[in-house]
């Protein structure tokens, strides 16, 4: 397999890429299925974000360590096996120590396996770069995913239930916006957020 080495840069530039310039949700629009599903509560968004961050870091580190030994024919299968292993580990950890959150997240923890961000970072970065850069890249993308989820969840939970992390923040007279607890509310807030991030980072799609 011919590997293309990327031009190495300072760690904070890799972080900046993941958090804003190449944010997996706002710019690449990857992994939005789970982002829409779990952002009606902030605690769910935090748990999902941390779970995905751990899986990206662990799988990127593992793929990077193995990169010189992975036969090109079984490259994608290797990613899937490694990612699945870490996702099942996260699932077991949540079920054992945070069972309420595991119940609330339901099938979405298992579906981290299909989250394009994880596989995307393995193929686009980890398989071509040393382990320490891959870990930073995984952390940057995981945190980029997490903070978008948390911001969207704060807005949705506040409007849908009048609370943030189950603490009442709006007056009792607040009329709950039920639509914000449902997927259409997620689409609306996520769409607004993507627009905001693209505006701030001047990331416009060019029509040829």
């Amino acid at each position: 397999m011919r590997l293309i080495k990327l031009k190495y840069t300072k760690w904070y530039n890799i972080m900046k890429q993941g958090l804003s310039e190449s944010n997996p949700i706002a710019i690449a629009v990857l992994g939005i299925c789970s982002a829409l599903a779990v952002t009606n509560r902030v605690e769910n968004a935090i748990a999902m974000g941390l779970g995905v961050t751990f899986v990206i870091i662990a799988s990127s580190a593992t793929i990077s360590l193995m990169r010189n030994f992975i036969p090109s024919k079984v490259r994608m299968v290797t990613y899937m096996v490694v990612i699945s292993t870490y996702v099942i580990a996260v699932q077991m950890f949540l079920e054992a120590f945070y069972s309420d959150i595991a119940t609330a997240l339901g099938a979405y923890v298992g579906l981290i396996i299909t989250n394009c961000i994880v596989m995307g970072r393995a193929e686009a970065y980890a398989v071509k770069n040393p382990v320490h850069y891959s870990i930073i890249d995984g952390l940057a993308n995981g945190l980029g995913y997490t903070y978008v989820l948390v911001v969207v969840a704060i807005i949705r939970e506040m409007l849908a239930f009048g609370t943030i992390l189950n603490y009442q923040v709006l007056p009792d007279t607040w009329e709950n916006w039920v639509v914000m607890a449902m997927a259409p509310g997620g689409f609306f807030i996520l769409g607004m957020f993507i627009w905001l991030i693209r505006e701030l980072t001047k990331n416009y799609e060019v029509v040829n």
Partner: protein
């Protein structure tokens, strides 16, 4: 040829590596997960008997309010206050198992509560079998001579419940599970 052996060697090493991680996690979390499942079951039994609890006092309330009766390898969960009896049911649905707990009055006849804990039916159709709104239609109904889940009923007898619209097979399966479990458990209960 050498390439094939290298690929096979890599796959074997990868398998060993990932299996080690999973077995390690299994070892760390296994007992904790079993405890969580047991606690969740106790919570369901307390809910079935309309007993309030918090996460911290589940075990205390359970021990004070519920007596476990083991008869012929079957466990009955009897309320110390009302005498209502809870037991587990399970059986095959359309797409997978349906299991849960049913609570009857102290005469072992009228349904007080049904909670479905596990089901894999079609969401929005057969999946309604686990929804509170549907299960509430069973409350107060008689298990004698048998519970009948029927279609398009105009009037319902005391042992009849409406079937789930668009999910006749799930309704039939649920009816069979409840009646089979009841007849078996009724014999055991009467023989005590």
């Amino acid at each position: 040829m050498r390439k094939y052996f290298e690929t096979i060697r890599f796959v074997v090493i990868l398998g060993l590596f990932t299996s080690t991680i999973l077995l390690g996690m299994e070892y760390i979390t296994n007992k904790k997960i079993e405890a969580v499942i047991a606690a969740r079951f106790k919570q369901s039994v307390l809910e079935a008997h309309s007993l309030s609890y918090t996460q911290n006092n589940v075990n205390d309330i359970y021990e004070a309010e519920i007596t476990e009766l083991d008869l012929e390898d079957v466990t009955f969960y009897v309320s110390n206050t009302t005498g209502n009896i809870t037991f587990e049911f399970s059986g095959g649905g359309v797409w997978g198992p349906i299991s849960g707990i049913i609570t009857l009055d102290s005469n072992f006849e009228l349904i007080v509560n049904i909670i479905v804990l596990v089901q894999e039916e079609t969401p929005g159709l057969g999946g309604i079998v686990a929804e509170d709104q549907y299960l509430e239609t069973f409350v107060g109904k008689s298990m004698l001579p048998s519970i009948d889940i029927i279609k398009d009923a105009i009037t319902l007898e005391n042992n009849q419940v409406d079937s789930i619209t668009g999910a006749t097979k799930t309704s039939d399966a649920f009816e069979t599970i409840l009646n089979t479990t009841y007849s078996t458990y009724k014999t055991i209960w009467d023989n005590q």
